[in-house]
Amino acid sequence: MSLIIGLGVVLVLAILYLIFRIGNLVGLVKGREEESTSWNSVNAYLLMLFMILGLIGFFWYSFVHFDSYNLPVASEHGEVTDYLFWVTMAVTVVAFVLIFIAMFWFTFKYRYEVGRKAVFFADDHKLEIVWTVVPAIVLALLIFSGLRAWNDITGPASKDAVVIELIGQQFLWTARYPGTKDKQLGKHNYKMIDASNEFGLDLSDKNTFDDFKSLELHLPKGQEVQLMIRAKDVLHSVFLPHFRLKMDAVPGMHTTFKFVATKSTADMRAETGNPNFNYEMACTEICGRGHFSMRFPVFVHDSVEDYEKWMASQEAWLKQNPEYLQRVPAELREAAIIKAGIPADSKEAILATPVTVTLN
């Protein structure tokens, strides 16, 4: 079978070659000069055709399929960057179309004609100054509006921002919440990471006791959130497309991004008319075999109260892993039991509590 296909391919190539040779010979007989002028016109018309069809295709697709490539935006700063994006789009599309048309029109209009002489036009300082200065001014305007937005986005988060930690690893995300009691993320140390203590919680810090883990990113609507981002093994990147948010996760350092979600999951379901709509988080820094599969579900609560209710319903990591009470310094264990919400009569709590206390 493959032999027949192979032979077929060879045959087709041989025929093409023969056609090419014969075409060449016919060309020799006919004379080249005239032919090359007519080919010149063919190319000029084709360039024109390309320009027209290209622009039509560009505008047609851009308008008709607008909804398929324009993701709805769901964050405060996202509305700003989207606005900048579309302003830049408007400016550049105008420039692009003008230059595009001019270029292809010139190639068509000034195609070779026997006997015509090109114009010796080597420079024109006025013209050159104009097209240096005009783009410079337009760019300056775009830059400054962009820089202002950038400074706002990257400025420090407000003090009452909700802090959430996102940790990337091959090939999944986890989120750590500070817990409702102290609202502080506890310290961590990568050397303390093991199969259960995946955050590397440093249990000598009492702020870790009520920290909890989530396999879904929960966010309040309308309140500032500060993401603290880190990675365990290689680079990853937090990408929340609907929130226009992206920040690398880097082993050995914390990166942050602050934002305010403006639409809850329910809002978005109503807006898109898709009852199954869900926000998603992706990884956008190549991190190995499973890079494409690092999906992290995102849920935006309708209100801050809703969000706090959810927070309160979560179990502290220490409560889920009470055997780690042993790692808590003895003098802090009681506080840990209370803060993590571990039942005082559970086996681990009794084991962990200093003997002196039980004797009393």
């Binding site: 398929s68 960057t81 900048l84 830049t88 070779y112 050159e128 830059i143 690398d248 880097v250």
Partner: protein, 627 residues
């Protein structure tokens, strides 16, 4: 058929051979293999570069198959890919990353750096400045053979069992530093680093030679202000390369230390494979700074030669002087300088200090100004020309079109606030493939069509050139234009598949279109390959100056021997763009024609120069300060 062949040969009464081999004094090895002749070395670079382009293109079609036709059964590729296919006949996800990585590495370095600069800087610098050869033929030969050695190592890495480097062409650590992170970071990465070290040596040997030759070996009268724009472009490119490649070398060296000798330049606080590594205090961001300190100038190393080549081709085939010669040189100089201070725009969201982001946004958008000036100057050069659409000219127009289309999206990406969303999406892929990948590739192909007659003494077939151009031009737009939409929709790059995400579930149609167009575009390159090989042996015999061009290389015989000009090197009297000069008999006046021979077309200030020509033979006033 044989009789017709004979007929075709005799009827065009070509072939003045019989005398053309007498300048070869050495044996086969010294003439064709370890040659020190810049023209032979240029051809070696060209052919190696073309082989690499083919490999790089095939790799891209392989991963496009996965993206465009994710359900296709590729079992028929098993004889070639073997274990890289899953049992279901799909590409293995890790192999997918290897394909992407090697495609990038090969195209950026082996095709568009070595294949482009190596070919045309070598071929054109001595011929266009009027030199017998490069300043150091021996170093030039070494430059090719280091490149060859580098190629061998990189090629070998494609066949090892753990696969070639797979962490992206930017090889960011820790992924590239830790063999436990992915298979490709083992031996494949080691070979990548070795190959790149050799490559950098090659590039430096070449670059130093290009710079020296342009500065020291210009012929009589060839002042800097009379250099063709090609030479200016190669000159700036070589300077950029000499200044930036050593930094990549340093980055690679530190990475080698981290990988093999337990240092922690780039590594810190890593828990992988169930153990915490001892490395602390390093920074992955440091590598990114070092990498992009080369990586961004590299964009211009790739692009400037292509812009130089097309400046020459567009002027010649519009039969007009290039518009704004000084502005063209000035903008290239400005681009060359600015290319060193924009690197961190690749790193806006990597955790770099946001204040740096502001600075680099500012600098990045400044670099758009000279680029815009270049586009305007190209378009104005076409205006009121008398345009001949040779294949080379079509590809040059294609370059300007790509440079415009891809350049404009740079204004989005250079703006840090907008880049937050677009970074590492297909928008970036579309941007750089158009503005640097396709544009430079078109410059390279245009150069081959244009200078083929000087390289091989024969013409390439024009009609095949047209077919090649139209298929490639339309194909490239169909591949990369849809990617803008996919990118605006947020699709991340280097994804094996998007089906895990609802957000990225669309655009199966566009991805299929892109893949089909990629296959079409690759197929069209075989027309070029056929044309190239066929024309070397059976093309129409080229006249000495087939395009009626002004530059010095067209004053050499059909087959320039070692030393380029049989007699004395011509003296240069004028700039290279005296096309369609009012009053002139023909529509071009080559650089070696003195003003005293063209009284009918001289401009007033040129008539002044006639006297100087008479006085001291050749040298013109402004030239004295250069000697």
């Amino acid at each position: 058929m044989a009789t017709i062949d004979v007929h075709s040969h005799t009827s065009t009464q070509h072939d003045d051979h019989g005398h053309e081999h007498e300048h070869h004094h050495g044996n086969f090895w010294t003439n064709y293999v370890f040659s020190e002749d810049h023209k032979v070395i240029a051809k070696q670079f060209l052919i190696t570069g073309m082989a690499w382009a083919l490999i790089g293109g095939v790799l891209s079609v392989l991963f496009r198959l996965q993206l465009g036709f994710p359900d296709a059964d590729l079992s028929w590729l098993r004889p070639i890919l073997g274990g890289w296919l899953t049992p279901e006949g799909k590409i293995d996800p890790e192999f997918y990353l290897a394909l992407v990585t090697m495609h990038g590495t090969i195209m950026v370095f082996f095709v568009l750096t070595a294949g482009l600069s190596g070919t045309f800087s070598n071929f054109l610098i001595p011929l266009q400045v009027g030199a017998r050869d490069m300043a150091s033929g021996f170093m030039n030969m070494l430059s090719y053979w280091f490149f060859f050695a580098s190629s061998v190592v990189m090629f070998t890495s494609l066949f090892i069992s753990t696969g070639p480097a797979s962490g992206g062409w930017v090889i960011y650590p820790p992924l590239s530093a830790l063999p436990q992170a992915m298979q490709g970071s083992g031996l494949g990465m080691t070979l990548w680093l070795v190959a790149m070290a050799l490559f950098i040596v090659s590039s430096l040997l070449g670059g130093i030679n290009y710079i020296t030759t342009v500065i020291n070996l210009r012929t009589k009268g060839m002042s800097f202000t009379k250099l063709p724009l090609t030479i200016w472009a190669f000159f700036f490119t070589a300077i950029i390369g000499v200044l930036s490649f050593p930094v990549l070398f340093a980055a690679a060296l530190l990475l080698i230390f981290d990988r093999s000798f337990g240092t922690s330049f780039y590594l810190s606080d890593i828990y992988i494979g169930g153990e915490a590594l001892p490395n602390q205090g390093g920074s992955p961001i440091l590598f990114q700074h070092l990498f992009w300190f080369l990586g961004h100038p590299e964009v211009y190393i790739v692009l400037l030669p292509a812009l130089g080549i097309t400046s020459e081709i567009i002027a010649t085939n519009s039969r007009k002087p290039i518009f704004g010669y000084k502005a063209m040189v000035g903008s290239m100089l400005f681009i060359a300088i600015l290319s060193f201070v924009v690197w961190a725009h690749h790193m806006f969201v990597t955790g770099m200090n946001p204040f740096l982001g502001s600075i680099f946004t500012l600098l990045t958008l400044i670099i758009a100004v000279p680029s815009a000036v270049k586009i305007f100057n190209y378009v104005t050069t076409l205006w009121k020309g008398n345009i001949r659409f040779t294949a080379a000219m079509l590809f040059s127009i294609g370059l300007v079109s790509f440079f415009l289309t891809g350049g404009i999206t740079g204004i989005f990406l250079g703006n840090s606030a907008i880049d937050i969303q677009l970074h590492d999406t297909y928008f970036v892929v579309a941007h750089f493939h158009l503005v640097m990948g396709s544009a430079s590739f078109f410059g390279m192909v245009a150069g081959v069509y244009h200078w083929f007659p000087k390289m091989f003494g024969r013409m390439m077939d024009e009609k095949l050139g047209y077919i090649h151009f139209w298929l490639t031009f339309v194909g490239v737009y169909l591949v990369f234009f849809p990617m803008h939409y996919i990118g605006i929709a947020g699709f991340p790059r280097r994804y094996y598949s998007w089906t895990n995400f609802e957000t990225f579930s669309g655009f199966a149609d566009l991805n299929m279109l892109v893949s089909a167009a990629a296959i079409l575009t690759l197929t069209a390159q075989f027309i070029f390959l056929f044309n190239f090989i066929y024309s070397i042996f059976r093309g129409k015999v080229a006249p000495a100056n087939p395009w009626n061009a002004n530059t010095l290389e067209w004053t050499t015989p059909r087959h320039p021997g070692h030393g380029n000009w049989p007699g004395e090197i011509p003296t240069v009297y004028r700039w290279p763009y005296d096309y369609s000069k009012p009053g002139a008999k023909e529509d071009f006046i080559p650089q070696h024609i003195p003003y005293s021979e063209t009284p009918e077309s001289n401009l007033p200030h040129e008539n002044e120069l006639v006297k100087l020509e008479m006085n001291d033979g050749a040298i013109i006033v402004e030239d004295k300060k250069h000697h």
